[in-house]
C-alpha cells in the first residue's frame, strides 16, 4: 500500500516544487531542501525531512541546547552574559528570560519574544544530536514530557513559541532574523502528514 502511493506523490511534489520556485521573483529566504534522495524514499520520508530541516534550524535548536545554555544567532553561539537554564528553564532567580524577552518580538531592541519564552526542558536536549536521534528523542515519552503523538503534533504545529520561528523579528542591528528553511504552511502539513503516516523515522 505504502509503496503504491509513492508513485503518485512524487510527480505532484516535483510539480509543486517547480511552480513554487518559478513564482518567486525575489530571492527567497527559504533554502530549498528537498533532496532527490529524500524524494525517492517516499512521501513519509519527504515529510520527515521537511520537519527535521526545521527542527535542526537555529530557530529551534537554539532553545534545545545540550548544556543548559541557550544559544543565539544563526551560528548558535552561547547566549551572552552567561544566561542559563536555571531551575525551571526560565533563567535565574531574578534575572530571567522575561527580564528581556516579552510575549512579542521587540523591534526597537531586536530582542525576540513570544508567549512562554523559555528553554525546552533538559530532557529535550537536541543540540549536537543527529536528525534521527532528535526524532527519537521527540517521540520518546520519557524525554518529550510524556506527550503522545497528538500532543506532539499540537506542540509542533500550534504552540506559539514554536510558530515564532516564522516570525522571528529583527536582530539587534535591525536586520531580519533568518527564517527556518521551510515555509510555515509546508512545514505544518508535512508534520501532520508524517504523524498521520505513523511517524516513521527512516534509517539514516
Amino acid at each position: 500500500m505504502k509503496k503504491a502511493s509513492i508513485v503518485y506523490v512524487i510527480p505532484i511534489l516535483l510539480v509543486t516544487g517547480i511552480l513554487l520556485a518559478s513564482n518567486l521573483k525575489a530571492p527567497t529566504a527559504y533554502i530549498p531542501v528537498s533532496s532527490n534522495e529524500a524524494v525517492k524514499k517516499g512521501a513519509s520520508d519527504e515529510n520527515y525531512n521537511k520537519m527535521m530541516d526545521v527542527l535542526v534550524s537555529p530557530r529551534c535548536i537554539n532553545c534545545h541546547p545540550n548544556d543548559n545554555i541557550p544559544k543565539q544567532g544563526d551560528d548558535g553561539h552561547p547566549h551572552y552574559f552567561g544566561m542559563s537554564r536555571g531551575e525551571n528553564n526560565l533563567g535565574y532567580q531574578a534575572t530571567k528570560c522575561t527580564t528581556c524577552h516579552q510575549s512579542e518580538n521587540n523591534d526597537y531592541s531586536g530582542v525576540p519574544g513570544a508567549p512562554e519564552w523559555s528553554l525546552a526542558p533538559a530532557s529535550m536536549m537536541w543540540e549536537g544530536l543527529s536528525r534521527k536521534e532528535i526524532a527519537e528523542s521527540m517521540l520518546d515519552p520519557e524525554r518529550n514530557g510524556g506527550r503522545n503523538h497528538e500532543e506532539l503534533m499540537h506542540h509542533l504545529t500550534e504552540h506559539e513559541l514554536v510558530l515564532w520561528a516564522w516570525e522571528p523579528g529583527v536582530r539587534a542591528d535591525g536586520t531580519p532574523r533568518k527564517l527556518p528553511p521551510v515555509p510555515l504552511d509546508e512545514y505544518i502539513s508535512a508534520v501532520k502528514q508524517w504523524f498521520e503516516d505513523g511517524a516513521v523515522i527512516p534509517a539514516e
Partner: protein, 722 residues
C-alpha cells in the same frame, strides 16, 4: 618657592569681580590663576614628568565661587566629574582652606560662558593634582577676604577673628559668611595667605564620602542625556557603518511620513531625523535608505599590514648605551599585539542644543567644554562668546569625550527646526564611531649579562594615533616632537640600570579615528614590556621581583618605583611557583609619575583565566581621598582586566564590529576579583595622577601568572588560552 614667584601666582587684583546672580546673595568671582606660559610648561611636563598642571584661561569673566543665602558655597569647577571623584576632592580642599563643612559645598561643572574652563581638558588624571595648589590658595584667599569684611562689619580687628564651619567669630560676636558677603560689592584682596600644614587638615587625606553619592544612588537627573530644554525635539542620526564611506544619496520619503517626524535633514556626511520623541526618531531612522560611496572595505589583515614595527613614522623616544645587534645569538626577541579597543561608556554620547539667532547653548557630557565651544563657534561662524557649553556629570568619560564635536550636529538640527533638539547616539553609532584605542604591535628584544641580569632591553612598538590628530593637541607639537605622546605612555623602559636600553615608536594614522582611551598606550605597552621582562627572568632562573629590582636605582625618583615593587611583592606574598592550581603574576609600571605594581593570583577554570586576588602597591604622592583613590585603583584594575582579557573590535569587510555589549565582550561581575588589596606609598608631597596609572600592570600581571601556571606565554591581547 620665593616670595616673588608666589605673588606672580597669586590672585590678580584686577580680575577680581563681583556679580549678582539669580538666587545668590553675593556672587564671588575670583579672577584667573596666572601661570607663565602654561601651554609650554604643561606640554613639556606632560611629556616628561607628568607633573599635573592647571591651564585655566584668563580671558573671560571667571566665576569660581558663589556664596548663597543659605551660607553655602557653589564651586564652579573647571574640571568635570566623570566618576573619578575629583569634585569630592575639590570640596575637601575648599572645606579645609575656607573653613567649611563638606555639606556646605556644592560643586558643579563650569559653563564656558560664566566660569573658568580648563583650556586643555579633563583628562590625563590631572584634575586633583592640577587644582591642588590654586584651589587651596583661592579658598584661603576667600576666607581672608570674608574675614576682612567681617572685621569692618563687626568692628573687630581681623587678627582676632577666627573661622569655623562658615561662621566668623571674634569678640563674642559671630557672622555667617553669607551675612558678611551681603551688600559687599568691593572687596579687598590680600596677598595669597599661607596654606595650612597638612596635619591641620580635617578633610584632606580622609575618606570623605563622595559628594555626588546621594544624587547617584537616588537617580537624580544629573547626566547629559537627562538634560532638557523647553519645547525640545529629539533626534537620531544615521552615519555610515563602513569605515571611510561617504554620503551619496538617501531616500527619506517613508521616514518623512512616519508618526511624530518633524524633519529629515540631509547633510554632507550624515542624515538626521528630528521627531517628537526619541522612539519615533529611531523608528523613522530605520525607514531611511542611505547610499554610501565606499571606496575600500578594510579588513583586519589590511590593518595588521599597516600597523607594524618598521612601518610609519619612526621616532626614537629613549636611548641609552648601544643598540642590540640582531646577529647576536644571545639576543632574545618576542612579539606582542593588542587589538582595537572601544570606550563603551554606558551613557551614549549626545547633546541638547539650542540655536537661537546665533546664540548657541549646548548641554552635554564632555571632557572638553572649551574645545567644543571653539569647534561649534567655527562651524556656525559666530564669536566664541556666543556659544555656551554647559557640562553635566558624565556617564563615563575614559577619554571618549575628549572630542565631543557631535555638538555641531545637535546645533545644526536645532537650527533646522528652530527649536532645541536633543540628539542621542545609538549604541551601534557609539561602537562604530568611537575614537578607538588604537591597535598596537610590539617587538621586545633583550639580552642577559653573565650574572643573569638584564644587559639590554629594547621596546619597538607601532601604534595608531593617540595624541596625534587629537582635538585638544596643538598640531605644532606633533610636528616638532615627531612622536605620538599618547602612544608613548608606558612605552619607555623604566629599568634605568639596564646599561643598554631604548624605545622606538612607529606611528601610523589608521583609516578610522583612534585616540585617547583611559591610560592611552599604557595598558598595551606595559603588557609587552612586563611580559617580556618576566620571560627574561624565567630564562635567567631568577625571581622576577628580584630580577626587576636589580635593574632599578634605589634612589631619586626611581626609588618610588623600586619601593612599590618591593611593597607589592611583600604585601601580596609573591611566590613564583604555582601552589594548588593557582599561580601568581607580577608586573609594574610607571605612568604619569605614579608608579604601580600588582601581584595577581590566577587559576584556570573551564579553560578560562580566573583572577582571584589582586594586590596593588601605588605611589600617587599625596592622597587627598584614600577611599576614592582606592576606588580608582579597583576600577582601573577591573577595567584593565576587561581590556586585557576580553575586549576586541575587529574590521570585517570594512565595518568595525561588534556593535553591541555582549559580542563586545567585557568584564562583568563574575570576572571581578573577590579580593583587591591596595597599599599606598607617599613618595611625593603633591597629589599625582590616580585615574589611569594603576591600570598599567594588570594585563602583564595576569599573563605572567598564566605563564607560570601553564608554561604558555600569551603574547596577544585579549588573553585567551586557546
Amino acid at each position: 618657592m620665593s616670595n616673588k614667584e608666589k605673588k606672580s601666582k597669586g590672585i590678580s587684583r584686577r580680575k577680581f569681580l563681583v556679580r549678582g546672580g539669580l538666587g545668590t546673595l553675593g556672587v564671588l568671582a575670583v579672577g584667573t590663576y596666572v601661570f607663565r606660559n602654561p601651554l609650554r610648561r604643561s606640554m613639556l611636563e606632560m611629556a616628561e614628568t607628568m607633573a599635573p598642571t592647571y591651564m585655566g584661561s584668563g580671558t573671560e569673566p571667571n566665576l569660581w565661587f558663589e556664596l548663597t543665602k543659605e551660607n553655602k558655597v557653589i564651586f564652579h569647577s573647571p574640571k568635570v566629574e566623570m566618576g573619578q571623584g575629583s569634585f569630592t576632592s575639590f570640596a575637601q580642599m575648599i572645606a579645609d582652606e575656607m573653613d567649611l563643612n563638606i555639606d556646605q559645598i556644592t560643586v558643579i561643572g563650569a559653563a564656558t560662558k560664566t566660569g573658568v574652563v580648563d583650556a586643555m581638558s579633563t583628562g590625563g588624571s590631572l584634575s586633583v593634582g592640577g587644582l591642588w595648589q590654586p584651589l587651596r590658595e583661592l579658598s584661603a584667599t576667600m576666607r581672608e577676604m570674608l574675614k576682612i569684611e567681617a572685621a569692618k562689619k563687626l568692628g573687630i580687628d581681623v587678627s582676632s577673628l577666627s573661622t569655623k564651619e562658615g561662621i566668623i567669630s571674634g569678640g563674642g560676636k559671630t557672622m555667617t559668611y553669607a551675612e558678611v558677603a551681603n551688600d559687599i560689592t568691593e572687596w579687598d584682596i590680600p596677598d595669597t595667605p599661607e596654606l595650612k600644614p597638612m596635619k591641620d587638615y580635617k578633610f584632606i587625606g580622609k575618606p570623605v564620602k563622595r559628594i555626588d553619592l546621594n544624587a547617584k544612588v537616588f537617580g537624580d537627573p544629573i547626566f547629559g542625556l537627562d538634560a532638557e530644554m523647553p519645547d525640545m525635539l529629539l533626534a537620531a542620526i544615521i552615519r555610515p557603518s563602513v569605515v571611510g564611506a561617504k554620503f551619496k544619496s538617501a531616500d527619506t520619503t517613508k521616514a518623512e511620513k512616519m508618526p511624530g517626524v518633524v524633519k529629515v535633514v540631509l547633510m554632507d556626511d550624515w542624515v538626521g531625523v528630528i521627531a517628537k520623541s526619541y522612539a519615533q526618531a529611531l523608528a523613522a531612522k530605520y525607514k531611511i535608505n542611505v547610499d554610501w560611496t565606499i571606496e575600500k572595505r578594510y579588513t583586519e589583515e589590511d590593518l595588521r599590514n599597516m600597523l607594524q614595527v618598521g612601518k610609519g613614522n619612526q621616532s626614537i623616544t629613549q636611548k641609552a648605551g648601544t643598540a642590540l645587534n640582531s646577529n647576536d645569538n644571545d639576543v632574545i626577541s618576542m612579539e606582542f599585539t593588542s587589538p582595537i579597543g572601544a570606550h563603551a561608556q554606558i551613557e551614549p554620547n549626545g547633546a541638547v542644543a539650542d540655536y537661537n539667532n546665533g546664540d548657541i547653548t549646548i548641554i552635554l557630557s564632555t571632557q572638553v567644554p572649551g574645545a567644543t565651544q571653539k569647534v561649534v563657534a567655527e562651524a556656525f561662524d559666530v564669536d566664541t562668546e556666543k556659544v555656551n557649553i554647559i557640562p553635566t556629570y558624565l556617564g563615563g568619560g575614559f577619554g571618549r569625550r575628549l572630542n565631543t564635536n557631535h555638538a555641531v550636529q545637535a546645533v545644526q538640527l536645532s537650527k533646522e527646526v528652530g527649536k532645541p533638539v536633543k540628539y542621542i547616539f545609538t549604541r551601534k553609532e557609539e561602537f562604530q564611531h568611537d575614537l578607538f584605542r588604537p591597535p598596537t604591535h610590539h617587538i621586545m628584544k633583550g639580552k642577559l649579562n653573565n650574572d643573569g641580569y638584564l644587559e639590554a632591553l629594547e621596546h619597538h612598538y607601532a601604534s595608531g594615533d593617540v595624541a596625534v590628530n587629537a582635538l585638544i593637541m596643538p598640531r605644532i607639537l606633533t610636528s616638532v616632537l615627531g612622536t605620538d605622546l599618547g602612544a608613548m605612555r608606558g612605552g619607555q623602559i623604566m629599568y634605568d640600570k639596564v646599561p643598554n636600553h631604548r624605545a622606538v615608536q612607529w606611528h601610523t594614522t589608521l583609516p578610522f579615528a583612534t585616540s585617547w582611551w583611559r591610560s592611552l598606550g599604557l595598558l598595551a605597552n606595559t603588557f609587552a614590556i612586563e611580559s617580556f621582562v618576566d620571560e627574561m627572568a624565567i630564562r635567567a632562573e631568577k625571581n622576577p621581583v628580584d630580577f626587576r629590582l636589580a635593574s632599578i636605582s634605589n634612589e631619586g625618583n626611581k626609588k618610588r618605583l623600586y619601593d612599590v615593587i618591593k611593597l607589592a611583592a611583600e604585601k601580596g606574598k609573591y611566590n613564583d611557583k604555582p601552589v594548588n592550581g593557582r599561580a601568581m603574576g607580577f608586573a609594574a609600571s610607571t605612568d604619569a609619575n605614579s608608579p604601580a605594581a600588582h601581584v595577581v593570583e590566577v587559576s584556570i577554570e573551564d579553560n578560562s583565566i580566573k583572577v582571584h586576588k589582586v594586590t596593588c602597591a601605588f605611589d600617587c604622592g599625596v592622597v587627598v581621598n584614600p577611599d576614592q583613590v582606592k576606588a580608582q585603583c579597583e576600577g582601573s584594575i577591573i577595567m584593565g582586566m576587561s581590556g586585557a582579557m576580553f575586549e576586541k573590535m575587529t574590521l570585517e569587510d570594512g565595518e568595525l564590529t561588534p556593535t553591541i555589549y555582549g559580542p563586545y565582550d567585557m568584564a562583568l561581575m563574575k570576572h571581578a576579583p573577590k579580593q583587591i588589596d591596595i597599599h599606598f606609598i607617599q613618595g611625593a608631597d603633591i597629589p599625582l595622577p590616580v585615574g589611569e596609572p594603576p591600570m598599567g600592570p594588570i594585563g602583564a600581571a595576569v599573563s605572567n601568572a598564566v605563564r607560570r601556571l601553564t608554561g604558555k606565554r600569551l603574547t596577544d591581547l585579549p588573553l585567551k588560552l586557546s
